[in-house]
């Protein structure tokens, strides 16, 4: 019995490592989560009964790339929440490593900028690891299906981090527009340049 438990534990540990190492690829089913929003309430994807899908954005307070994209994240929610694809923002960073990303500072930023979407803290970092978020901002577009929430796009918001180009390739918008039109996104994965996620120091 002891051996069985050990084997089972090793299997679980191995699985956890595999997920942590790789995260989701396009086509995977994304798990739901229950994370604390800046208003103190717990938020899950399942709360959004009428959603057709989700724009899950791993982002944070401190990162210049996240700051550069903040208004574009806000615009995505304004454009797509009503169409069935709300933005769900998650801060993955360890506040011990980065006090600017503390829950209190997340509350302040969300209030100051009047976020129209939830801004959740992933205190255990388990959700961020499961998804495979690497940097901030890092986007996962999910489509709600009878079988679950299927990952349809992973990567950057557009190809213009600094926001200086007149002609941007809007990866997230293109992906969501395709899904809304009943099609598959033409581009399903891009690189999300940004600040590496600050993981808790392992104990």
């Amino acid at each position: 019995m002891k051996t069985l438990i050990t084997v089972a534990m090793m299997a679980v540990a191995g699985l956890a490592f595999k997920v942590a190492d790789n995260g989701y690829v396009v086509g995977d089913k994304a798990t739901d989560f229950k994370l604390k929003n800046v208003d103190g309430k717990m938020v899950s994807l399942a709360n959004y009964k009428s959603a057709k899908g989700y724009i899950v954005v791993f982002t944070c307070n401190h990162c210049p790339y996240a700051k550069a994209y903040e208004s574009r994240i806000m615009a995505l929610d304004k454009e797509y929440a009503a169409k069935g694809y709300p933005v769900i923002a998650i801060s993955p960073n360890d506040p011990v490593a980065l006090p600017a990303d503390s829950y209190e500072n997340m509350q302040k930023l969300a209030a100051k900028k009047s976020y129209t979407f939830p801004y959740l803290i992933d205190e255990s970092q388990a959700v961020s690891r499961t998804y495979g978020a690497k940097a901030t901002p890092h986007v996962y577009v999910l489509q709600k299906t009878a079988a679950g929430n299927v990952v349809k796009y992973i990567g950057a918001i557009d190809d213009d981090t600094e926001g200086t180009k007149t002609e941007k390739v809007k990866y997230v918008e293109n992906a969501v527009n395709a899904l809304l039109a009943g099609k598959e996104p033409a581009v399903t994965a891009t690189k999300a340049i940004g600040c590496g996620i600050k993981w808790k120091k392992s104990v």
Binding site: K134, E162, K191, G194, G196
Partner: protein
């Protein structure tokens, strides 16, 4: 007065010559690291990236320790291109001795994919190339000096 100005100019030019930041494109970088006489350790960093700034001295030390070896450390900043002056000021302030560049790119996507397809885009990242031995590896992680030293020695 003229003499003084001249002196000032000379001292200023010496000052800047030590920390001359240049733009570097992906094509230029790939051409450079294809050189089979030298082993290249290319660190991708940014002035705003705290772990990057913290590990820069390790790269500087590597270059210093092996200054007589065919090793070149290149420090490529991923700061926005509009921050050229800031990168210049940073390298002066931190007295960076290795070659410092600002990545010239029309798109982060092209650059990241061109450096390594497995690079997700998070900073810091380090590319090590030994063209003579056909080694080209990318590490999306931070390095201590000991780790960096080990990596260099095993890539020779």
């Amino acid at each position: 007065m003229k003499k003084f100005l001249l002196l000032l100019l000379i001292s200023l030019s010496c000052f800047f010559a030590n920390a001359q930041v240049k733009l570097l494109s992906l094509a230029q970088l790939n051409k450079r690291v294809a050189n089979t006489d030298t082993l290249y350790v290319v660190n991708f960093w940014a002035t705003w990236c705290a772990p990057c700034v913290a590990e820069l001295p390790n790269f500087e030390k590597l270059q210093m320790v092996y200054k007589d070896k065919p090793l070149k450390v290149l420090l490529i900043s991923m700061d926005f291109q509009s921050k050229f002056k800031l990168v210049q000021q940073f390298s002066v302030k931190h007295k960076l001795k290795a070659e410092v560049y600002l990545a010239e790119r029309s798109s982060d996507q092209e650059l990241i994919d061109g450096i390594d397809k497995d690079w997700g885009g998070a900073l810091p990242g380090t590319l090590i190339v030994n063209a003579k031995k056909g080694i080209r590896k990318f590490y999306e992680q931070e390095f201590t000096y000991a780790e960096l030293n080990k990596l260099y020695l095993s890539s020779q």
